[in-house]
């Protein structure tokens, strides 16, 4: 048995060999898909969407109605002197370590420019 060229016999031989080879290679029992559960569809219910829309509408309503309501509350109000007095603010508590510090750079020297010497002579900086 030989396959030197594509003669009909050699074709038959190699074809038989390949068929037998692949028959042996293929799975004896082909698995069947077990899809008992439905595909994992992400069910989008309308409820959360409705809820978020309602929350958004309520927020907008409060935002718009709030200033109107508050401005109506203080119609006809005139500030008194006592109000200004009582509005004074004094920090009475102990100093906290988180107290705000003045971080603006301070000049090292604030007096008039000092003279300096060049080769023994005193010269002004200007």
């Amino acid at each position: 048995m030989s396959f030197p060229r594509e003669s009909s016999k050699s074709i038959d031989d190699i074809e038989n060999l390949l068929r037998a080879f692949y028959r042996h290679e293929m799975p004896a029992s082909w698995p069947t898909p077990e899809l008992t559960s439905p595909p994992p569809v992400q069910i989008v219910s309308g409820r959360p969407l409705r809820r978020s829309r309602a929350a958004l509408a309520a927020s907008l309503l409060i935002l718009m109605a709030g200033p109107i309501f508050l401005s109506g509350k203080f119609m006809g109000y005139t500030p008194q002197n006592d109000d200004r007095e009582s509005g004074r603010f004094e920090a009475t508590g102990p100093k906290s370590r988180f107290q705000r510090q003045d971080l603006t750079p301070k000049p090292d020297w604030t007096g008039p420019p000092k003279p300096f010497r060049v080769n023994g002579d005193i010269k002004d900086k200007q």
Binding site: M1, S2, F3, P4, R5, E6, S10, I11, D13, I14, E15, N16, L17, L18, R19, A20, F21, Y22, R23, H24, E25, M26, P27, W30, P31, T32, P33, L35, P38, P39, P40, V41, Q42
Partner: protein
């Protein structure tokens, strides 16, 4: 508004696709790696991904081409990971033993021939192996193969003839004349 088909229809469509194309996907995967078990795993995984894709509401115009692409990618990934595990030689070329239950003495010769055939198939191009697998594992006609692989019938005939001749010469040189 839900424009997806009902799930029952999806299920039926999926099962039809599985019946029609699962062996083809196996053949494509097998042609790449020459490992029947890996090919079966890859085919299963490809269909599982198709199922998930349907579950996510995805639409596929050409499921067969989609499955082949996924299978080829999966086998490629497997080949890369197998390289890290085993080096340059796939394990089935080093050792043809597939399972302890398949080790009767009368099967040893067949296994030996299997290894030799696989070694020669591995020398062919992947496209040639795909054509041979579709032709001799699934008994597809050259016309069907050309349609699946999106090539011409003439090219399939030419590749088949060349691959057969090459295999015949090499197997004869190894003393392999028939499959036991």
């Amino acid at each position: 508004m839900d424009s997806h088909p009902p799930r029952k229809l999806r299920h039926a469509e999926f099962e039809a696709l599985y019946r029609r194309h699962s062996r083809e996907v196996w053949a494509i995967a097998y042609a790449r790696y020459l490992n029947a078990d890996v090919a079966l795993d890859v085919a299963q995984e490809a269909f599982l991904r198709l199922w998930k894709h349907y579950g996510d509401g995805g639409e596929i115009v050409n499921p067969r081409a989609w499955l082949f692409r996924v299978a080829r990618n999966l086998v490629e990934d497997h080949a890369k990971s197998a390289f890290h595990r085993n080096g340059t030689h796939p394990p089935e070329l080093m050792n043809a033993v597939r399972a302890p239950s398949e080790l009767p003495l009368d099967g040893l010769e067949r296994r030996e021939v299997s290894v030799q055939v696989k070694q020669e198939l591995a020398e062919l191009s992947e496209r040639d192996r795909e054509i041979l697998t579709l032709r001799y594992a699934l008994e597809y006609s050259p016309n069907d193969i050309a349609a699946i692989l999106e090539t011409t019938v003439t090219a399939v005939h030419m590749r088949l003839s060349r691959a057969r001749q090459r295999l015949a010469e090499r197997l004869l040189a190894r003393g392999v004349a028939h499959y036991p």
